[in-house]
């Protein structure tokens, strides 16, 4: 196996076949969402023309935009809140050595070890008690709490690459701690922020379990449980609108993936090593 030799065409052909098989369900999803009902029961017949009725039905019967806006709000809220609180925590965790900070480090480390399922049931009870059940705020707080350990360690690791002299000279120039942090340190931590977003946005957007448990009000529902409900509410066998909604829910992620693909590989390994 020489280093610069090109691999054989046969091998590439076999891999391409596998790749196409992997892509098939995605193509199938797209195809079914544009297929006229009379061809629907012949799954292996291609659609004859593009048929948009399912998309119309999806907007009419399910209020897609409400689900989308809930999903966007919760995803953005959780990522933003995590970025704010975890970057500040990660920064001081890597700079201070007092006992409190060493304790906080271990405290957060416990969150890397304990899985979310361990907290789920009491959280449900607590949400009712503090009147946060069925709110987007609750979801944002739960996701943020889950992200804090990973994100603050990520920020702590990146903080180490910022020279302390920078802070000292800013101090001498009379810069207050908040301004110092948000104007000087935080922008330098941008790669960590990018890594965090690129690797975690999919998890929140696609999450099904948390909204299933904590959001019962249809007005607050995110896309994933909305799709499932839409599917189960429909007594008729017509899955067309369900496919249309699924396509619509996946497209934003695919677009995002297309733009951030090259950061993904880097982000995954950075995250995984710290994880």
């Amino acid at each position: 196996m020489g280093l610069n030799k090109r691999p054989s065409l046969l091998l590439e052909g076999v891999l391409l076949l596998f790749a196409l098989a992997f892509l098939f369900p995605v193509v199938f999803l797209l195809e079914m969402s544009f297929k006229e009902p009379r061809y629907f029961f012949k799954p292996y017949a291609l659609p004859h023309s593009l048929y948009f009725d399912y998309y119309r039905a999806a907007f009419r019967d399910m209020d897609f935009f409400r689900g989308l806006s809930n999903t966007v709000l919760i995803t953005a809220g959780a990522l933003l809140l995590t970025i704010i609180v975890a970057s500040m925590a990660g920064y001081v965790l890597s700079r201070r050595t007092e006992r409190l900070f060493r304790f906080a480090y271990l405290f957060f480390l416990s969150g890397m070890v304990i899985p979310g399922v361990g907290s789920l049931i009491p959280l449900f009870r607590m949400a009712v008690d503090i009147h946060l059940m069925n709110t987007r705020t609750l979801l944002v707080l739960i996701y943020t709490a889950g992200f804090i350990p990973f994100a603050s360690f990520l920020y702590a690791a990146f903080t180490k690459s910022i020279p302390r002299e920078l802070e000292e000279s800013a101090n001498l120039d009379g810069c207050g701690p908040m301004r110092l942090y948000w104007m000087i340190i935080f922008p330098l931590l941008l790669p960590a922020t990018g890594t965090f977003i690129v690797t975690n946005v999919y998890g929140v957007w696609n999450d099904f379990l948390t909204p299933l448990i904590f959001l019962n009000n249809p007005a607050r529902m995110t896309l994933m449980p909305q799709i499932v409900q839409f599917m189960f509410n429909k007594q008729s066998v017509n899955y067309g609108p369900v496919f249309a909604v699924s396509v619509l829910a996946v497209v934003p992620l695919i677009v995002l993936f297309a733009f951030t693909q090259k950061y993904m590989l880097r982000g995954l390994t950075a995250g995984a090593v710290k994880g």
Binding site: M1, L3, L268, T269
Partner: protein
């Protein structure tokens, strides 16, 4: 107040929000879980202390037992099949194919698609009069048609295969990153020494990939232990209890039967499994990784 004292308190303020949110919405509920797992509790009445009886019942409950069996199967499958396949895929995707970009994207795409959408599509493909059986009938005849998600023998194996479609790209990408981190001069040196093919892989690539192994093994095991969405959406544990997982059994005990005390006992058992895996993995990783 001296400057250093003041700086200390400012640092505390920086730490505070993360500390409070994590403590209140993650750590404290976890401690409560431990407490509730020793009680009988329906979510409304005051929890009543029952000692270890919830834990004992876990091993008599058919759904929970089948859940444990399936979860274990999934772990074994992940270790013995998923990992070697992901590694093979990564080695192949690291070659200089003309269509390398397309290949990588195709295998990674399922990773970003949600499990809900995954189960919508695959449910439709695999249903009795669906696409898969249609193709099978045409190619190898009616005799090979199965109700893939509807029989005791096929439902869980089918779910395992679907998790492969979902997860293998993720594992492969981590191996791929590990492969790319190996400096090429090592290969050049090995080439001069005459190491080729399998020997090259065994003596050079394999040891250099160690950090990736720990990560991927960890992700596969924890992923297997947490399996919930696909069985919940595709079979709801059935038929019978043939496709239950621990997580699904815990979910049903809590949110369907309102046996919160019992369900927390199940979640604590699951937690202990996951912690054990994590601690083993962290200790291995710690020994190997250099401070970044």
């Amino acid at each position: 107040m001296s400057l250093s004292r003041k700086q200390y308190w400012i640092a505390c303020l920086f730490l505070l929000p993360a500390f409070v949110i994590f403590g209140m919405f993650f750590f404290y509920p976890f401690l409560q879980s431990i407490y509730y797992s020793f009680t009988e509790w329906n979510g409304v009445k005051t929890p009543r202390y029952v000692g270890l009886s919830n834990y004992r019942y876990l091993f008599q409950d058919v759904q929970m037992l089948d859940g444990m069996k399936n979860t274990l199967k999934m772990v074994v499958f992940g270790l013995l099949v998923q990992n070697p396949l992901a590694l093979l895929l990564a080695v192949l995707l690291n070659k200089k194919f003309r269509t390398r970009g397309f290949l990588r994207t195709s295998f990674y795409l399922p990773v970003i698609i949600s499990l809900v959408v995954t189960s919508v599509v695959w449910g439709e493909i695999l249903k009795f009069d669906g696409f898969a059986n249609g193709i099978l009938t045409r190619i190898i005849g009616e005799a090979n048609v199965q109700d893939w998600l509807g029989t005791v023998y096929t439902s869980f194996p089918t779910i395992i295969l679907l998790t492969q479609w979902q997860a293998i790209g993720y594992c492969a990408v981590i191996y791929l990153a590990g492969l790319q981190a190996i400096p090429t001069d090592i290969y050049e040196a090995a080439d001069i020494e005459g190491a080729k093919g399998i020997a090259l892989f065994r003596h050079v690539t394999f040891p250099m990939l160690m950090p990736s192994f720990t990560i991927v093994l960890f992700l596969t095991i924890v992923g297997a232990l947490r399996l919930f969405d696909l069985p919940f959406l595709l079979t709801n544990g059935g038929p019978g209890s043939s496709s239950y997982t621990i997580f699904l059994a815990v979910y049903n005990a809590a949110f369907k039967n309102q046996s919160y005390g019992y369900a927390t006992a199940g979640s604590i058992v699951l937690t202990v499994f996951i912690i054990a895996v994590t601690v083993i993995q962290l200790s291995i990783t710690r020994r190997r990784e250099v401070e970044l």
